[in-house]
Amino acid sequence: MTTNIIGARIKALREERKLSQDELARLFGFKDRQTVSAIETGERRVTAEELVIAVEKLGVSLDYFTDPFLLVGEGRFSWRQTDVGPQKLSAYERNAGRWIAAFRAIAPQVGRSAPLLRRSLGITRHQRFEDAMEAGERFVAEFELGDIPAKRLVEVMERKLGILVLMVDAFQGISGAACRLPELDVVLINRHEIAGRRHFDLAHELFHILTWDAMPPEHSEEARETGGNRVEQLANNFASAVLMPTPALDRFGDWSEIAGGELAGRLNAVANELQVTASALKWRLVALDRLKPAAARTVSDAALRNNGRDVVQTVLPPPFSKPFTEVIALAVDEGRVSARRAAALLDLTVDDLADLCATHGVQAPVEQ
């Protein structure tokens, strides 16, 4: 939190307002633009008096310049959503940005810095969908995701790749997002989605994180398991292969011999076992040529909805994540962040914060 937040934010606001350093220097009453330049690069510290001038002259709050729990002019998001308007999405992004900014600021203070180096996939947008699938298969093998990759995917993303994965309460229609900061990769998943869709979103966003520099994703894309632009299709193929690698599918035998009337039931049963959606499984089998497109089309979407269950799961994954909660709890316990501030960040009471810790098996930093 000691980096040059104020200087960077003055620069971000100046650029947003399309002001030159000379114009800003006049606003502050500096004799030349060099002083503004020095402030923006962090060579010179802003005084409290100058900070107040910035607040008054630029018409923003003091917190805009000083709150480390904000993302200002930084952080790129890519949302998976269905029919969510830009305003609603933007409001939610601001909120999510606070959690992410807070984690970025306090994790290094409590000894939980993000990895120095990032992993990436050597795939470009010109490559074939089969290449994305092969990458998915290799990912499963290399990171030993096992027979049911969905089970261990979050753990691998967190522990092996240093990605912050947050299970969040999002508006209906928001499936998830990938977010990239210079120092941190984050995946947000709407924890109210059904398990199969959550897992698919997770693997899909993982692809974006691993290919961000080569193929920066759109800010917002429609959440679906097939179709979309080329990058989205590559991401979907990668995600399908991660969650349903061929060795895992081999266990379930030959699909071509299954009679039409039994196909939906079989798809639902296997999808439940692999913790994916039956629809994603159906198209994965088609992509692998284990199921003919004509046979796949005989199975209606309705027969596969909720993997054939009448009642949708009611057990939600706990909010946020254990690594995130640990960082918050450590920061409160060490006196880096006040308990009230931490609770406010998560829109909880202090008592709820203690409960959140208990849910994740983390020592609560406050007495209830």
């Binding site: 104020i6 900070l51 003091l62 000083t66 306090i106 006196g335 006040s338 501030r341 406010a344 202090v350």
Partner: protein
């Protein structure tokens, strides 16, 4: 210990704890208790950040306080510049922003470790006091036990840890 005769600055947590254990009258009549406007706001329902909220009449609270101070952006800016890496809540930050403007013999009572770290960082460890000590010096013993973070023993232990953590133990 002799009772402190100067101003006592209290934060939201302390006011809430006093009302919870029924010790507000003893505290407010025993000392010159002062706070800031943001802390008064945070004692009201909807702002307490407690699951079971207390009903605290704002007019009564203000009437029993020696002073309730407004805090300006200029005062808050001093906090942000001097200690940019400790994230305080609104009321805690305003209370410190106000405290830093004063030159009299104030003490500050607030149990949050981040607030305590702030005080230790600025060399104000001796200005920090536990609610238990204040009540004890005023001859009052709460009917319900104070939570641990309001006790003298806990405060001394935490201040010692923070002193070392801030690298001040080497000086």
């Amino acid at each position: 210990m002799a009772r402190h005769r100067g101003p006592v600055l209290v934060d939201t947590n302390v006011i809430l704890e006093c009302f919870r254990v029924g010790s507000w009258r003893a505290l407010s009549s025993g000392y010159n208790i002062e706070t800031v406007e943001d802390c008064v706001t945070e004692t009201q329902t909807g702002y307490q950040r407690r699951r079971a909220e207390l009903q605290i009449d704002a007019a009564h609270l203000v009437a029993t306080l020696q002073a309730v101070h407004p805090v300006t952006d200029a005062e808050r800016a001093v906090v942000a510049i001097r200690v940019p890496d400790i994230a305080l809540d609104v009321g805690e930050r305003s209370l410190w922003a106000h405290a830093l403007t004063r030159s009299d013999a104030w003490v500050l009572c607030g149990p949050d470790k981040a607030s305590l770290r702030f005080g230790v960082r600025l060399g104000l460890r001796n200005r920090l006091i536990a609610l238990e000590a204040l009540l004890g010096d005023a001859g009052h013993r709460p009917k319900d036990a104070l939570k641990l973070a309001y006790t003298t023993k806990w405060l001394e232990k935490v201040l010692g840890e923070l002193f070392i953590s801030e690298g001040l133990g080497r000086l």
